[in-house]
Subunit: 413 residues, 2 copies
Amino acid sequence: MKAIFIVGDGMADRPLAELNSKTPLEAATKPSLNWLAEKGVCGIMDVIAPGIPPGSDVAHLALLGYDAEKVYSGRGAFEATGFGVEILPNDVAFRCNFATVDSKLTVIDRRAGRIATIDADRLAKEFREVTLKGHEDAQIIFQNTIQHRAALLLRGAHLSTMVSDSDPYKVGKKVSEVHPLDSTAEAEKTAQIINELTHYSYRVLKDHPLNTERQTRGLYPANIILCRGAGKLPDLTPLPLQYGINAVAIGAMPLVKGVCKAAGMKLINVSGATGTYETNVLAKAEAAVEALRSNDFIFVHVKAPDIASHDGRVDEKVRMIRKIDQLVEYITRNVDLSETYIALTADHTTSSRTKEHEGDPVPLVIYGPEVRIDDVNEFGERACAKGGLGRIRGKDLMPILMNFLGKTKKIGA
Amino acid sequence: MKAIFIVGDGMADRPLAELNSKTPLEAATKPSLNWLAEKGVCGIMDVIAPGIPPGSDVAHLALLGYDAEKVYSGRGAFEATGFGVEILPNDVAFRCNFATVDSKLTVIDRRAGRIATIDADRLAKEFREVTLKGHEDAQIIFQNTIQHRAALLLRGAHLSTMVSDSDPYKVGKKVSEVHPLDSTAEAEKTAQIINELTHYSYRVLKDHPLNTERQTRGLYPANIILCRGAGKLPDLTPLPLQYGINAVAIGAMPLVKGVCKAAGMKLINVSGATGTYETNVLAKAEAAVEALRSNDFIFVHVKAPDIASHDGRVDEKVRMIRKIDQLVEYITRNVDLSETYIALTADHTTSSRTKEHEGDPVPLVIYGPEVRIDDVNEFGERACAKGGLGRIRGKDLMPILMNFLGKTKKIGA
């Protein structure tokens, strides 16, 4: 037995006036999702707990079976590892942006005009070998990723994740002084390092030839580095170790890829899987079917519904659900259904009205040879609430799936 | 967005033979409760955990979102603070009754014939300035409240809540010797104080002129004070701090008012809200509507259904549910339903047969602009079990409500 686990990011929603009080899932044409519901067992799921809106990182930790609230240790490390930055267990990792500030360090653009990756590559070279005076024991590893995005790792003894962000998150605000979030010497030192590095980045970048050139081309100079989301890789028991499975993750979003990698999954990059509205879901479906031949467990993540919700684009959200339906259709037609379980859910509700993650439960279906098929024949928030799984927690899903695969261990005798 | 949260104390029940195997809720005429169910999302709720009968104090801690089993520290302090008795963080508080005993201290009536408050006021004067020999360092504060009820505070160093009750809880039993529940000197000392105070109360009250007079009127003398439920105020994060809301509680029962006060809510006293069968629910409804104008969250408690159950008065319980229906009707007609969430539930099941709190789940409905309306159109124990909320825990309700109000914080990124 094998399993494919498909997550539509932020796919669940609340009833919307413009959809006649239906949710986007309820309003969308989705024959394959409905087929899963009809032939499977449905339920609703509090990914963390009722009423609690999870971030995508915390949500995915739970969906992969971990006690997310206990193990979570900040976003930075997941995103760094998801981008392929090599990170060691005690590295303190930050998410960074190249940004544009004026001479008083007031933010003009948080993303330096979404600087092209090729330009960011060139500027990042300035940080290859940085050592800060008085902090020679801390190794500073800076790596840009896509466009303005970058990861910063601090490696060494006496460091802490308990520091605030230098990113003020708003245009017109000054770059924030980083301060320690507890009273340890480690947090104090880490805050000092980030503050000094921030000023160092401005000194090195403000008159950089590339920035002079950018300005003559009418582009924002990328003259500072802003840091946020200090975190470490949590100490997770890898899924292959915990369940004795080969596990593969397919998705485009670095944060989710990072969580999957931290959970010991192999990452498969699919060309055309972009994490945007144009993401090629059929390419993901093909990759999933292909990967299933030599692996037990395939995790497929589609980011687009969440982006549509955050943009308040109900029409796009419905369209992205239609695309996920096509992904499911391809998978159901191309795997051996007599030995494949298919789970489909969302990592959280995102309201297309509030444009925020919300704490409402998400719908869930598990299709497979030996599930207790219920009466639900539509995949939606309300239809699934009548399903045979009842209302479960996010961290319960993996054990349920792994049990169908014969991979859970009995407790007791 | 705002919310009104209505609790019918002990409103849930088990099927009763005299109601053709319906519960009082199922048997009652309740058009407004049914309207809430029809237009809202329903479920059942284990206020603490399946099968566990909660006391009203523990139940309300959970209903207000606290981890009740962790924070609970005895009933006495809640009741004292709910009565307006000024209680300091380290006071050891007891709930007390004026009771009737014979000369061997055998209990004849635990409530001294539900002595009138005016009589109790007079007797309580005897305890204004009590100091016990050898315990001069302990300040003794006794304050009667309604009818036979009173609060006792012990203030000072070297005191403990770890003592048993002097109240034997049963007619025909002797007043209990209080003993320490752990081996500390503090518990030993506290037990001694209560034992001495018990005997002191009998000495002072047995020949009190008022009691002589009561006996000539054929009334039970109130000739002893029984103590139970030693507790301290728990250290709760106030709701206004936790969620950034203005929170108001409306109710008559001191215990519940005490929990609400400990949770940082403002208490509104409503004239005619008595906690008895004659309680004026419309006055509560009016107060709730009025309070909603300048506050985010209104909690309304109606004690009467629980009293009816404890009295085994099924007819009265049905009548009290009818009254709660009128309260809901008034509220739904007088608030702006486009921006108001209304939650209705019970704090526990009380069986009209056993006359005890029971561990069966309670029905729950949440009405409001963005709930996922389900198919349930009747508010009752069995109807709600088919609702879209499924089966949740008591402590999950507040986060769900606060999430609809946009007041919960995302975990992770």
